[in-house]
């Protein structure tokens, strides 16, 4: 074999070096676009609803959806978000651990979310929903009041319906003021019941309480009134539990609002 032995070896060597140029594997392009958030990847994680699709890019989790029909998922994502979506083997370790921890009830775990293109109102609604502890629910009107738009109950419902990251942002913890479960984007009311039950909430009791006209529960010993699913309300013994149909009724009876569940928020809208 002859390598670069001719008299113009200098030129040959330079030519040979130029031929060391390669074409990058397609993964470089795909990962760069995902890394900057111009494309997304998805994989499944376990959830109370079975395996769910978690979609992410370099900016954070951008979408959570049912995983049963991958083609339909990729099309939905394309229509709603307008970026290409590629299935990968697994959610990156750190993100997977964070999402699993959040689904297990850890509200403090930081999960980066990619909420580009969403309105400040929508983001405010979702961030407020994040404050609802696992195993508790709040009425739509409560969210509206807490974010400073007490009359925007319908808009709150709409924002929750458009939550791109259900489960991670627990829109399933927002129900009607009468305790009925309400709608749910990720598989309807039945799925919402399943998730709430998995979080330790007795949805039948919640709905029965609501049907009986009870909106608030007070403790005759502390004289504090709560929303029915507040962890403080659930500690009240049967003997000291006092049901109320409205906040004015509770206040008139000498009760003050719980500082944890803030039952006065949205009480006017709920009435």
């Amino acid at each position: 074999m002859t390598i670069l032995t001719s008299h113009d070896a200098g030129l040959d060597l330079e030519t040979a070096l130029r031929e060391l140029a390669l074409t990058a594997p397609a993964t470089v392009r795909a990962r760069a676009l995902i890394g900057v958030g111009l494309a997304d990847a998805w994989a499944t994680l376990p959830s109370p609803l079975g395996p769910i699709a978690v979609v992410w890019n370099g900016r954070g989790v951008s979408w959570i959806d049912r995983a049963d029909d991958p083609a339909a998922l990729e099309e939905r994502f394309g229509v709603r978000v307008g970026r290409s979506l590629t299935r990968t083997v697994a959610v990156p370790d750190r993100l997977a651990r964070a999402v699993e921890s959040r689904l297990a009830g850890n509200r403090r775990i930081r999960i980066p979310l990619d909420l580009r293109g969403r309105t400040p109102f929508e983001v405010a609604v979702w961030m407020k929903a994040l404050e609802i502890p696992r195993g508790e629910v709040r009425p739509y009107g409560w969210i509206a009041a807490e974010i400073g738009h007490p009359r925007a109950v319908r808009a709150v419902g709409s924002a929750l319906a458009h939550n791109p990251v259900p489960l991670v942002v627990p829109c399933h913890r927002v129900v009607r003021s009468d305790g009925s479960i309400g709608q749910y984007s990720l598989g309807g009311p039945a799925a919402k019941r399943t998730i709430l039950a998995a979080e330790g909430l007795a949805t039948d009791d919640l709905e029965a309480t609501g049907r009986a006209g009870v909106r608030y529960l007070g403790s005759a010993t502390t004289r504090i009134v709560c929303l029915p699913t507040c962890h403080h309300a659930r500690r009240i013994t049967e003997r000291h539990r006092r049901p109320f149909a409205s906040m004015p009724a509770a206040l008139a009876a000498g009760y003050r609002a719980c500082r944890s569940c803030r039952p006065a928020s949205g009480s006017a809208a709920a009435a």
Binding site: A24, R31, L33
Partner: protein, 216 residues
């Protein structure tokens, strides 16, 4: 017109719309630079994609006028070289010596163009393999200069800008690098071996690639 000028204008006008074109135009050369500096395909892929992501983040923070003034080729090369240098340190930490033979045989090489016969193709592939291995034995700063100047094809001025050294330094490093490559290849040929054996070869220079430090 230099296609990078149009590309810079595109990026300045709308980064998200322009960025895929930047990836299409530069991903392969950044991958090539990373691979020829590091010798490990998996690491080179990560360096190339990280370099593109860094470039996006930097551009995201730049004023349009600054983007328009960028010389994209050397600018992207600098980002890649810096990431490759950091990666090289980590590689040195995780493996004291890299055995080149198996890596070089494991599909580093480009697909053959179809215009020549199998014998010529095989010879060219052998030459590339030897040359890729010989490059990895240059000191990192000399290697970086040779890779940018002759593998990537930057001008002396662009190479100097990318490496942040004077043009004279680039010329000296490239001259030295080419001479060493030639010596190295002659020695291999004298031994009659046309296939580098991983076991018999010295480990590549373990030092990091330094682009700031003029050595001439």
């Amino acid at each position: 017109m230099d296609p990078d000028v149009a590309l810079a204008a595109h990026l300045a006008a709308n980064l998200d719309r322009g960025f895929p074109a930047l990836v299409d135009a530069h991903a392969s050369r950044l991958y090539t630079i990373a691979l020829r500096l590091l010798g490990v395909p998996g690491d080179a892929e990560e360096v190339a994609q990280d370099a593109l992501i860094r470039a996006y983040r930097a551009l995201d923070g730049y004023e349009a006028t600054r983007i328009l003034e960028l010389q994209l080729r050397p600018w992207l090369a600098t980002i890649t070289i810096n990431l490759a240098r950091n990666r090289r340190r980590r590689i040195a930490d995780r493996r004291p010596a890299i055995s080149l033979g198996p890596l070089v045989d494991a599909g580093l090489e480009p697909a053959e163009r179809g215009e020549s016969g199998p014998a010529i193709q095989a010879e060219r592939a052998d030459t590339r393999r030897l040359l890729a291995a010989a490059l990895l034995e240059l000191t990192p700063s000399v290697r970086a200069a040779v890779v940018l100047r002759h593998v990537d094809g930057l001008s002396v001025a662009e190479t100097a800008a990318a490496l942040r050294v004077p043009e004279g330094t680039v010329k000296a490093q490239v001259h030295r690098g080419l001479a060493r490559l030639r010596t190295h290849l002659d020695a291999l040929e004298d031994r009659g071996g046309n296939r580098p054996s991983g076991a018999a070869r010295p480990a590549p220079h373990p030092a990091s690639i330094t682009v700031e430090e003029p050595t001439a």
